[in-house]
Symmetry: C2
Subunit: 298 residues, 2 copies
C-alpha cells in the first residue's frame, strides 16, 4: 500500500518545546516510533509543517543587517533540510533507508491569493515594523488581537515538481520525506515566489499525483468533531465525502485547523483517492483499522 | 557515463558577490549553463560547498538569543536545502528533472580530527568571543593573521548514507544534487556531530561508492600547477596518479585549496576510479577532451 502521511506541527515540535535541535530530534523520534510498523510494511511518504522553524529564521534574519535575508521560498528550502534531517535521523533508528527530497511546488503567480495575503507567519510585533518593507504580496496586519504579524499569500498548489522522483524512491524501498512546509512555491517557469503553500493541500495534491492508496493527516486532536469544543461535541468516526462536505459547509470545522484538512481530504477523494484518515499519532494504528480517528471515504 | 562533479565555492558564489538569494541563483544558472550538454547525455551528480552560507547562518544565530542556535550538522542540512534549491532551479532551466537529496555522511566520532579542530569556519573576530562557549571539539584560534575564527574538526568521511538513493535516482534519469557542504556528519549510529567534512573528500568517496566513471573538481583556477604563483609555474595537463602523489609530497599544491583536491583524486583512483579532471567551469568541455584543465589517470 502507498501511504502519504502529513505530520502536523505538534507531532514534530510539541507545544511549549523550545525548538532546539535536540528537542526537535526527540519529537521526531517519538513520532517515527509510532509509525515504525507502517514504514516497514508500506510505501510511505512523510510530509511536515515548518511554521515555527521559518518563524525562527525570520527572527534571526531581522536581528542583523550584516547578512542578506533570504526570501520565503529559500527559507522553506532551508527548513526542509533542517526538519527533513531530523525525521531522517529518526527513520534511521528503525533500520530503514530514507530519502529527504527538497521539494518545489508549482503555483500560479496570478493566483488571487497574492492580492489578499491571508497566511500569518513569524513573530508577533507590538507595532507593524514599518522600517522593514514587506515584499510585494505581503503585508503586516493584526493577528487575532495578539499583535501584528506578516501575512503572506497562500496560493493553490498545482503540481509537485518532484513527484516523479518521489515515486521512483518509493518503488525502490525508501521512506521518502518531502513537501516540507507545503513545498517551495515556484512558478511554472521555475522562479521562486514569496508565499507559503498550505501543507495539507500540498500533501493532498502529492497523494493524488503519486496515486496513493491512503492519505493520513496526523493532528493534535484525535479526530474531526462536530461542535468541537462545545459540550455537544461529537467525534466523527467514519463518514462519506458528501457528509464531510456538508459539515464543512455547516461550519463545523475550524479555519486554519481542521477545515483545511477536511477540504484537502475531499480533494484527494474527488481526484480518485480511496481513503483519508485524520488522527492523533498515538492512535494511528487503531485509526487505520477504523477503531479511532476519523475515516473519510468517497 | 556516470560523472560526479564537485562545484567549488567560486562557481556558486563568485568572490565579491553578496550572497543574496538572487546573486546565488544567478551564479548557479551560469554554472549549470556550462554543464548543460553533459547533464543531457550523462548521469551526473552535482556536489557543492557551503562555507559562506554556513558562515552567514552563524552570524545570524549569534545576533539574537531569542532563537535556539542550531549545531553544525543541522546548519549543513539547512544549507543543503538552500543551495540545492538554487542549483535545482538552474537545472530546471535546461528542461531536465533534478532531485536534491539531504545527504548524511558517516564519520568516526573517535577520529583524531576531533582532538585537533583544524577547519576554520564563519566570521572573523577581533577577539575570541569567550562568552560563546564553543561546542566540545571546537575552539577559537587566530586564522592566517586576519582574526579569530571558530576551528572545527574535519573528520574522514567513511560512508555516504544516501549513496543508494543517489544511484537509484541517477538510473532513473535525474540530475542529482547531493553531499552539499561535504555532507551532514553523523556517527554510524546516526547521531549528528559538530564537524565539517571536507567537500572534496566526501565527493571522492561518493564517486567510489556509486562507481562513477569520472570525477570532476570544478575550481577557481584552470588547472593544477607546479610552482603555482611563481614565475616558473607550469600547468599540468595530464599526469599519472604516481606523478600526482609525487607532486603532493614535494609540496607543489596549496593546503586547503589544490592539495585536498589532488589527494581526493588519488583516493578515487586508488579505489578503482578511472579518471579525474580538475578544471575551471568555463573550460569543462575542453578539459574532458584533454584540451584544458588537469587530467589524472591511474
Amino acid at each position: 500500500m502507498r501511504i502519504v502521511i502529513a505530520l502536523g506541527g505538534n507531532a514534530l515540535l510539541p507545544k511549549g518545546a523550545k525548538g532546539t535541535a535536540e528537542g526537535q530530534l526527540v519529537a521526531a523520534k517519538s513520532a517515527i516510533s509510532r509509525l515504525e510498523s507502517l514504514l516497514k510494511k508500506d510505501q510511505v511518504v512523510l510530509t511536515h509543517g515548518n511554521g515555527p522553524q521559518v518563524g525562527n529564521l525570520l527572527i534571526q534574519q531581522q536581528a542583523t543587517s550584516e547578512v542578506a535575508p533570504m526570501p520565503l521560498d529559500v527559507l522553506d528550502a532551508m527548513t526542509q533540510g533542517q526538519i527533513g534531517y531530523f525525521i531522517a535521523s529518526a527513520v534511521s533508528m528503525t533500520g530503514l533507508h530514507s530519502a529527504t527530497l527538497i521539494t518545489r511546488v508549482v503555483v500560479d503567480p496570478e493566483d488571487a491569493a497574492f492580492k489578499n495575503p491571508s497566511k500569518p507567519i513569524g513573530p508577533f510585533y507590538a507595532e507593524p515594523p514599518i522600517a522593514q518593507n514587506p515584499q510585494p504580496g505581503t503585508r503586516y496586519s493584526m493577528d487575532a488581537g495578539r499583535g501584528y504579524r506578516l501575512f503572506v499569500a497562500s496560493p493553490e498548489p498545482l503540481k509537485i515538481r518532484e513527484h516523479d522522483a518521489i515515486s521512483v524512491l518509493l518503488d525502490n524501498g525508501f521512506v521518502v520525506i518531502a513537501v516540507g512546509g507545503g513545498g517551495i512555491p515556484i512558478s511554472a517557469h521555475g522562479g521562486g515566489l514569496e508565499a507559503v503553500i498550505d501543507k495539507d493541500r500540498a500533501t493532498s495534491l502529492l497523494a493524488s499525483e503519486i496515486n496513493a492508496d491512503l492519505l493520513v493527516f496526523v493532528t493534535s486532536v484525535d479526530a474531526a468533531y462536530l461542535d468541537f469544543g462545545k459540550t455537544s461535541q461529537k467525534a466523527l468516526r467514519a463518514l462519506s465525502a458528501k457528509d464531510a462536505a456538508g459539515h464543512v459547509a455547516a461550519g463545523h470545522f475550524a479555519e486554519g485547523s481542521m477545515k483545511p484538512k477536511v477540504e484537502a481530504a475531499l480533494r484527494f477523494l474527488q481526484g480518485g483517492g480511496k481513503r483519508v484518515v485524520i488522527c492523533a499519532i498515538e492512535e494511528i494504528e487503531a485509526a487505520l483499522s477504523g477503531q479511532a480517528g476519523t475515516t473519510i471515504s468517497p
